[in-house]
């Protein structure tokens, strides 16, 4: 048994351990931290998965009941409830991806248990991937739950996307962006108050003003123009295109915006991790 462990720890020579691998390889440290991030939210699944699904369902019940007969979207080619569902699914994906990485970081920083991932030989790239992939898994799990539970409202035929690859691409890209933003927020925040600033003054307004509940074509020209500066709009619009083949802007343009933010935010997060910003003194 011990020999088996010994051979897996690393190569030992003269009593010392040597480690191989490049800075961009994903080694055992990544796998362990990714597993821990998933296990962490799975242990409190009622709070992290079931509760957001139920909350999103309430949005659907209220908005579809009140607005179904009063709001026309895409010139009436799509029923309002059917239009609403992809927006709500994506909103759930984005909010929960952000919540996962940000809460994991801030909790472990506040409780000082962050030391357990800072002491081992885990690279900053591995740390980045583990936290972001963990956030993506939770965001996508909640999104999947919301999507499945909305079937009875529009029927399976209307709920199934016309272009699944666009749906998967934007869900992955959106959750990666918000998972990365959560990582940045978690590293930057020194207390829960700081994180609340991110959540209440950035994530929530940008989500609600991104076209989850409406098509931006129904807005006055000024607000319509302003919406084009909201990256969340592109995530939701592109995701919705995957369902209906209709969108406010070209899905390729949305994909380019999502791609840009994935790269830009990843670069910032990796830089923070590599320099030990607010993690190592």
């Amino acid at each position: 048994m011990s020999d088996a462990i010994e051979s897996n720890v690393a190569q030992r020579a003269g009593g010392r351990v040597s480690v191989g691998g490049s800075s961009f390889a994903l080694g055992p440290g990544f796998k362990a931290l990714f597993y821990k991030e998933c296990l962490r939210f799975w242990k409190v699944a009622f709070q992290t998965i079931v509760a957001p699904v139920v909350t999103t369902l309430l949005y659907l019940l209220i908005f579809s009941h009140v607005l179904e007969s009063n709001v026309k979207v895409y010139d009436g080619r799509v029923a309002y409830t059917a239009f609403l569902i992809p927006g709500l699914v994506m909103m759930a994906v984005l909010q929960n991806a952000f919540a996962n990485s940000s809460s994991s970081l801030i909790q472990s920083k506040m409780m000082r248990s962050i030391i357990f991932v800072l002491l081992p030989p885990i690279t900053s790239f591995e740390l980045f991937c583990a936290y972001v992939f963990g956030a993506m898994v939770r965001g996508l799990a909640v999104g999947l739950g919301v999507w499945l539970i909305t079937f009875p409202f529009v029927g399976a035929a209307a709920a199934v996307p016309q272009h699944p690859l666009w749906v998967i691409g934007f869900a992955a890209g959106g959750s990666a962006i918000l998972g990365t933003l959560g990582l940045i927020a978690g590293i930057w925040s020194e207390k829960f108050d700081h994180l609340a600033v991110f959540q209440n003054f950035i994530i929530m307004p940008l989500t609600f003003l991104s076209g989850v509940f409406y098509s931006i074509h129904s807005l006055p020209a000024f607000w319509q123009g302003l919406s084009h500066f909201n990256p969340f709009f592109y995530m939701i619009d592109g995701f919705r295109y995957g369902f209906f083949g209709i969108a406010d802007v070209s899905p390729w343009r949305s994909l380019a915006v999502v791609g840009f933010f994935v790269v830009a935010l990843s670069a910032i997060a990796l830089r923070m991790l590599a320099t030990g910003y607010k993690l190592r003194q």
């Binding site: 462990i5 296990l39 409780m111 030391i115 190592r280 003194q281």
Partner: protein, 318 residues
Amino acid sequence: MRLLESLVVNSNRSRDTAVEVVDVCKSFPKVRALDHVSLRVEQGEFFALLGPNGAGKTTLISILAGLTRADSGSAKIMGFDTVSRYREARSNLGVVPQELVFDPFFTVRETLALQAKYYGVVGADAWIDEILHHLDLTGKANTNMRALSGGMKRRVLVGQALVHKPPVIVLDEPTAGVDVELRQNLWTFIKRLNGEGHTIILTTHYLEEAEALCNRVAMLKGGRIVALDTTANLLRGMSGITVQVSADAVPPRWQARGSVQASGAFGFTLSGYPELETLLSAYREANIVVREMKLGEADLEQAFLKLTSRESSAAEAA
């Protein structure tokens, strides 16, 4: 036990360097935590890092562990620089932090298993069982960390530091909050690890522990090393005895050398037993009745106080 057999990391006890710190400086806003600190710990040593609060012990440990970056100087673990070869350096190091930290989501076993996986240790169940056994935590293996007492959490921290079998183990105040019996068990375990070749670096406020366990001692004060020697040499430098005398007064010739202790007795530091006879003669000549007398030999605590107070005096004089 198989545990100890499997813990053999360097049975030939070669005298290669386990930890090397060269001219390390570290400042925080308003405080210079480390001021040109250099020291070397050989493989297999049981080394004590002593000093009052704020001396820089934890900062030095944090630099070794990669949690803090030195402003200048370098630190190596088993020959690996803690910055340029940080992955190798961290793989060779296990740290028991001073703070009682834990992840509230997991059980004791999950905590140890996760920590093992962070270091790339797979198939560690039997190994974890052995650690749990030696730390008297077998019965709590499936208990959530939140439900453990402070002493148990401390022992889990020790387990986490050992789970990847590091050749160098740093224990930062490992027995704080641990009751006497468990403290003894812990030291027995750590001593056996040291006997098997692990290098142990210890900080503690219990100086008698350092005296009993450690071969060499570094004393830090104000971020500087004020003493770095073998425990035996430090104690040798403290030749003499201490005497506490319970009596109504101090003989006139001895008043300058006596100090009132917390117990109310008068304390004297003497050069040796011949001077004790001189002291007692003085009491007889002065017709002062000695009700009780306690003798003590020089210990690490006295050496520590002497060295740190000498350093303070030097600093004031400068």
